[in-house]
């Protein structure tokens, strides 16, 4: 039932003194849109704590787009932390938006961003706290229409029982069209079913209730989705794609939080997409093609953004910032303009070569904290399998270069459980760390005072849809643990610090990545058993997840480890980021043969299928060839 739209802050305020970090619930941040006249109201939700959700660039983009649209207002909401949600339930206060403290259940449209798989139970919790029926099929005619979208929408099937519509791809433009479709249909007196039908006509919008799931001999046990008879919806919904990043707002982040948040800085998206083709990387496949923002726009945006927000740090964000064809000029220009203002420039990811190190040096000034590289695998053989086009020499040269430029602490990211991995590959992780440490000692000197150290962080590989590894099973959890132990035991140097991810979290992540629509029972069952904030180590409850799986006759660990047949119809194939299945299969075969594939922005087309499928092209400002 739709709740009345009214300011209920007075009911929330008495609770503020009793919770941790009341700043999470205050609103009125600098840059927040206070004018919320509507008359059509949308609430965008990041279903995690404020400090995690607030820096999300996707929400910021959609918030601005919707608030700029005629007759539409957009507010934000984050999931209250467990202390606050308990108090709210006790006091009978429903989930409220930030800007006007109106009940989320009073909005016309509520949108969720699917940032990662482990946010699943938080979405159930959010809907429950809001008082909106959790399953779309249980909603009344006038209940809010629930949207979802974001990086993890590519296998949204296990969650789509909760969503009326899923928006695929770049949200710019799409979100406004979708909101307008709801508004216009409502204004015309349409039923809920008619509203959903109208939404299905918006390009890039997938309406789950208009598709049936079929399980047959061509599919996995989760089946595949086909349009319902007479539904008049596409068999495959392709993502929306902005062809030119320069037409988008370069400074979408206008709001300045009061409390410390996880990325407490101005972020300028310098490019979207990455064509390096790492075979484990979902973002690398689903955000194609590569679109660079022009040099002048980046520099002006950084300067203007810093001036209007008051931040003292700007991050040039993207999947591979140092691949920007004008990266060097951008950094030089920023240095000229920002010198003496006490402002830091940061690059979130470093390329594993001397150029990457030079760029890191350019942004760090005289500061030399730690420098991070991601070789991902310990041996050349395995790096070729995953198409991580870096060599032993690249790593050694980058490390030597970094130590010579003054860095003392190196951080290396690896993955464990990659397809074809052997014990030799695992031992090579420690060996690579030793080699980097040895280079550091050669350059800087030995002994405690040299301060040279290497940190190694090892995550567990999770097979993701729309990657060449989507057919793989995850390495069984006991085997992951054995290999983690093997790696740890192989390290005898106290200047090498090895940390690894919790294999249990990865099991749940893998299970959610592989399941189809019936997987919602697992998510709902886990939530009923108290699971929420699963991405927070201290809140994650593995046993409850396993129990929820058992209750529906599933062994989660077995499910995570289950490979899929290369010819099977997969649960997510009715939505598409444009990358063709043929390309993914070819890449899978090349991986098995250890053959690498080049980056199409630096060489020539590799036939991933994205450009013809979406009618777009890579948009490179300068020249990447020969880099």
């Amino acid at each position: 039932m739709r709740l009345p739209r009214q300011d209920r802050y007075a009911e929330l305020e008495p609770l503020l003194a009793k919770v941790e970090h009341p700043a999470r619930y205050l609103d009125h941040e600098w840059g927040a849109v206070e004018q919320q006249d509507g008359p059509f109201h949308v609430c965008m939700i990041y279903a995690d704590a404020y400090e995690v959700g607030q820096p999300n660039l996707g929400i910021a983009i959609l918030y601005n787009e919707l608030n700029a649209a005629e007759g539409i207002s957009c507010e934000r909401c984050y999931l209250p932390w467990v202390d606050m949600s308990a108090l709210m339930r006790e006091a009978g206060v429903p989930l409220l938006s930030l800007e006007t403290s109106s009940p989320v259940a009073s909005f016309d449209v509520v949108g969720f961003t699917l940032a990662h798989e482990m946010i699943a139970t938080n979405i159930v919790e959010t809907l429950d706290l809001a008082g909106i029926p959790i399953r779309a099929e249980d909603r009344d005619e006038d209940d809010a229409i629930i949207f979802a979208g974001g990086p993890s929408a590519w296998n949204c099937e296990p969650l789509c029982a909760m969503f009326d519509a899923v928006l695929l791809g770049d949200g710019e433009g799409e979100i406004v069209e979708a909101a307008q479709a709801v508004r216009d249909a409502r204004a015309a007196g349409a039923t809920r079913a008619e509203v959903l039908k109208a939404l299905s006509k918006v390009r890039g919008v997938y309406v789950p209730s208009l598709y049936d799931v079929v399980v047959d001999e061509t599919s996995t046990r989760w089946g595949y989705a086909v349009p319902k008879p007479g539904a008049d919806v596409p068999e495959v919904v392709y993502k929306r794609c902005i062809p030119d990043l320069s037409v988008t707002d370069p400074v979408p982040q206008k709001m300045v939080p009061y409390m410390g948040i996880v990325q407490d800085r101005l972020a300028i998206e310098v490019l979207r997409g990455c064509a390096r083709g790492c075979r484990f990387c979902q973002a690398g496949m689903t955000y194609r093609p590569v679109r660079e923002r022009p040099l002048e726009q980046v520099v002006d945006a950084a300067e203007q953004g810093l001036r209007t927000t008051g931040y003292d740090e700007v991050s040039l964000s993207s999947l591979s910032t140092t691949d920007h064809s004008q990266c060097e000029q951008i950094l030089l220009r920023l240095d000229e303009r920002l010198r003496g203002k006490g402002v830091r420039v940061s690059i979130p990811s470093q390329r594993l070569d001397s150029f990457g190190v030079d760029m890191a040096a350019a942004v760090s000034g005289s500061r030399r904290g730690g420098l991070t590289f991601a070789p991902e695998a310990g041996t050349q053989r395995l790096r070729d399998v995953i198409n991580k086009n870096v060599t032993e020499d690249d790593l050694e040269r980058a490390a030597r270069n970094a130590f010579e430029l003054g860095w003392r602490r190196m951080k290396l990211y690896f993955m464990m459980g990659l397809p074809t991995e052997t014990d030799d590959d695992v031992l090579a992780i420690t060996a690579a760390a030793r080699r980097v440490l040895e280079i550091g000692r050669e350059v800087v000197g030995r002994g405690y005072k040299s301060g040279v150290s290497v940190s190694v962080s090892v995550s567990v590989f999770v097979p993701k849809c729309f990657t060449p590894f989507q057919w793989c099973g995850q390495l069984p959890i006991d085997e992951v643990r054995r290999r983690q132990d093997l790696m740890i035991r192989a390290n005898r140097d106290r200047d090498i610090h090895i940390s690894y991810h919790d294999a249990q979290v990865s099991v749940v992540e893998a299970a959610l990545s592989k399941m189809g629509r019936a997987g919602f029972e697992l998510v709902y069952g886990a939530w009923q058993r108290g699971c929420r904030f699963d991405a927070w180590t201290d809140q994650f409850k593995y046993e409850q997840w396993l129990e929820a799986g058992r209750a529906m006759g599933i062994d989660l660990e077995e499910l995570a480890a289950e490979p899929y047949d290369l010819e099977a119809r997969l649960p997510w194939e009715h939505t598409s980021p444009g990358v063709s299945k043929g390309f993914l299969k070819r890449e899978w075969r090349r991986a098995a043969e250890g053959v690498t594939t080049s980056d199409c922005t630096m060489t020539s087309c590799v036939g991933c299928g994205v450009c013809p499928a979406l009618g777009v092209d890579n948009h490179i400002e300068g020249d990447r060839h020969g880099r």
Binding site: A17, A23, L26, H28, W30, G310, D312
Partner: protein
């Protein structure tokens, strides 16, 4: 080389929803407001290259204030009226600056210098008696110290010097309390800590507070028994 920078003292309020900001959150917000204002602030030479700004003593989360202060070092002398207008335009209204003036460049840190506070506390509760509240506070003062927990850490604050005076007045909604406190390098007495202790005394046994609102209504420097206003133009700082 002569220091050619300027020390601008700014008074601001903390009210509305922003009363629930912690001290670090206030500092971050004010620093960002200063950056937005475009004032020519000075940056320190340390590793982190931070803005040179000092704040008065931390206000507890949830406490309102009519008089908080910061001292900002500027590279150029900007007209005080203009500086104040720029800061106002760049600050959230609930942390709005309302007065600014230059003070001598060299002088003690603001946090230590403003060592006296006046608090207005509203203690809501239908059955509360002003006399009982007063007696409870007297008992705490008499005890000489308060042992309390901040988070999961045990803390102690002495009450003989930190609690200067108090006056409780009966109101229809409960008790209005005016409280004067003194801080030193040994610590500062927070009204909520004092009241929690007072409500644990025999005088207030069984008394129930439905809520309380704490507001710092002023801060001063105390020297030789005299209270000095933060903007007192006649006060000469001892630089020894």
């Amino acid at each position: 080389m002569a220091d050619e920078t300027f020390r601008l003292r700014v008074a601001y309020r903390k009210d509305g929803r922003l009363a629930y900001l912690g001290h670090l959150e206030v500092i971050n917000t004010v620093e960002r407001s200063i950056r937005r204002s475009g004032l020519p602030f000075s940056v320190g030479n340390g590793f982190a290259r931070r803005m040179r700004v000092q704040f008065s003593q931390a206000l507890p989360v949830g406490a309102f204030s009519e008089g908080e202060y910061y001292d900002l070092v500027l590279e150029e002398e900007v007209d005080t009226h203009e500086a104040l207008e720029l800061l106002k335009a760049a600050s959230p209204s609930a942390l709005g600056p309302y007065r600014a003036a230059y003070v001598p460049r060299r002088g003690p840190a603001l946090e230590a210098w403003l060592n006296r506070s006046l608090w207005q506390v509203e203690i809501h509760g239908e059955e509360l008696s002003a006399d009982a509240v007063s007696e409870g506070i007297a008992a705490v003062k008499e005890a000489g110290k308060i042992d309390f927990m901040r988070g999961d850490k045990p803390r102690t604050i002495e009450t003989v010097t930190t609690l200067v005076s108090w006056e409780a007045t009966q109101e229809a909604w409960g008790v209005a309390l005016a409280l004067e406190t003194r801080s030193s390098n040994l610590g500062a007495l927070r009204p909520a800590v004092l009241l929690d202790a007072a409500f644990g005394t025999e005088a207030l046994a069984g008394a129930v507070r439905s809520s309380q609102r704490v507001c710092r209504s002023g801060q001063w420097h105390e020297e030789n028994g005299r209270l000095v206003e933060p903007f007192d133009a006649n006060f000469t700082w001892s630089l020894t």
